[in-house]
């Protein structure tokens, strides 16, 4: 049935509360996964998701009714909220977070520190670029799917991917040298 197999008949909610509940239950997990990969810690990720749904609650009539479009709407709002927070952050602190976390004793701790260092390097990317890198590298989404989700041209996605990879590579190489000098 190809595309037709995707057709669904689903109950439409009667009230704003029903609609919001359906929206939350259908998209929370997907949004949290993205938010967690855009945020430094789980609390920040939950705040991002919560703010996204609160914005949806305030303007429920502007949320599209088709599932894929709902998801795209929510993802774009989430990235915009992340971008606003990222801009508000002190520029100096934003660059500091890319600095290596202090070294630790055991192998387990060392592995944790290494992962945290890589993760914090992502903070220096703009949220949109970070989202594109995350969707491609960690969610396994292809360039056209990301372009459709974000409502941008495929060439823009490819450009952000290339720039993001280069920035991360430069940061992580620099940090590797830091570690090497210790």
């Amino acid at each position: 049935m190809n595309a037709m197999a995707q057709s669904l008949v689903v109950p439409m909610p009667e009230t704003a509360a029903d609609r919001l509940a359906l929206l939350f239950d259908a998209h929370y997990d997907r949004l949290y996964r993205l938010a967690r990969r855009l945020a430094t810690d789980p609390d920040a990720a939950r705040d991002l998701v919560q703010d996204t749904f609160l914005r949806a609650a305030r303007s429920l009539t502007s949320v599209p009714t088709v599932r894929q479009d709902e998801e795209a709407w929510l993802v774009r709002v989430l990235i915009n909220i992340a971008r606003d927070a990222w801009r508000r952050r002190d520029v100096r602190r934003r660059h500091d977070v890319a600095a290596p976390v202090s070294a630790a004793g055991s192998d387990v701790e060392a592995a944790f520190v290494a992962r945290a260092t890589v993760w914090r390097a992502l903070d220096s990317l703009t949220p949109r670029r970070r989202a594109i890198v995350v969707m491609h590298e960690l969610e396994g989404l292809a360039v056209p799917a990301i372009a459709a989700l974000l409502g941008v041209a495929e060439v823009t996605v490819r450009w952000h991917l290339a720039k993001g990879r280069r920035e991360l590579s430069r940061l992580l190489t620099t940090q590797g040298e830091h570690h090497g000098k210790r």
Partner: protein
């Protein structure tokens, strides 16, 4: 040194953090407390059974355009026959085989028409996913809603066919009993949506 991709995958916090259901529930409570339990919109109140549905069809984005190609023609309002029929994925007695365009798998239609133009109070164009795309909201009469409810209640998990002028435009799977209203969604231009809505509205 490992590649950036490998480093990212290894550092991915979702690999190391278990799902936190308590936090999810907490966020849900906060979000739901911001909601007003008001009706979604005034036109929904016209639904006679107090129950509304969305007929969600990703297929229409593709198929709809091939059936209603562009806005070059004038609006032939009375020309369109709108039908909803129950359908099956396997052949059976009295079922008519229909092969959707672009699909290798046929659909088998029941001979009874569940809903047709006469069961529709109103078909109108509503906003779509952005300023350039439109959907069509269809409000059924009480009789149309009753027939659709009766038909779909015993047909959950099986397909139904939506036909316009005898052409299959969508074959959604019934996920729950439906009555009242339907929303035909699918990236129509304003002119296409106007044309379809006008065609469906005329009895």
């Amino acid at each position: 040194m490992a590649s950036v991709d490998e480093l990212l995958r290894d550092a991915d916090p979702l690999r190391h953090e278990p799902p936190d259901e308590a936090s999810r529930a907490r966020v849900r409570r906060v979000v739901m407390s911001a909601s007003h339990d008001s009706p979604l919109s005034p036109w929904r109140r016209r639904a006679m059974l107090g129950m509304s549905v969305a007929l969600v069809s990703a297929a229409l984005a593709v198929v709809g355009v091939s059936i209603w190609p562009g806005s070059s023609g004038t609006v032939h309002a009375a020309a369109m026959r709108f039908e909803i029929r129950l359908a099956e994925l396997e052949p059976g007695l009295g079922l008519r085989e229909l092969r959707p365009s672009g699909s290798s798998k046929p659909l088998y239609l029941h001979s009874d028409v569940v809903v047709t133009n006469g069961d529709i109070v109103q078909a109108r164009v509503v906003a779509g996913r952005d300023a350039d795309h439109f959907n069509i909201a269809v409000v059924l009469t009480p009789e149309g809603a009753r027939k659709l409810l009766a038909a779909t209640t015993s047909h959950i998990g099986r397909p139904m066919a939506i036909l316009v002028d005898n052409e299959l435009v969508a074959a959604p799977t019934v996920r729950s009993a439906i009555a009242g209203e339907a929303l035909i969604t699918g990236d129509y231009s304003r002119a296409e949506a106007d044309r379809v809505a006008a065609g469906i509205s005329v009895r």
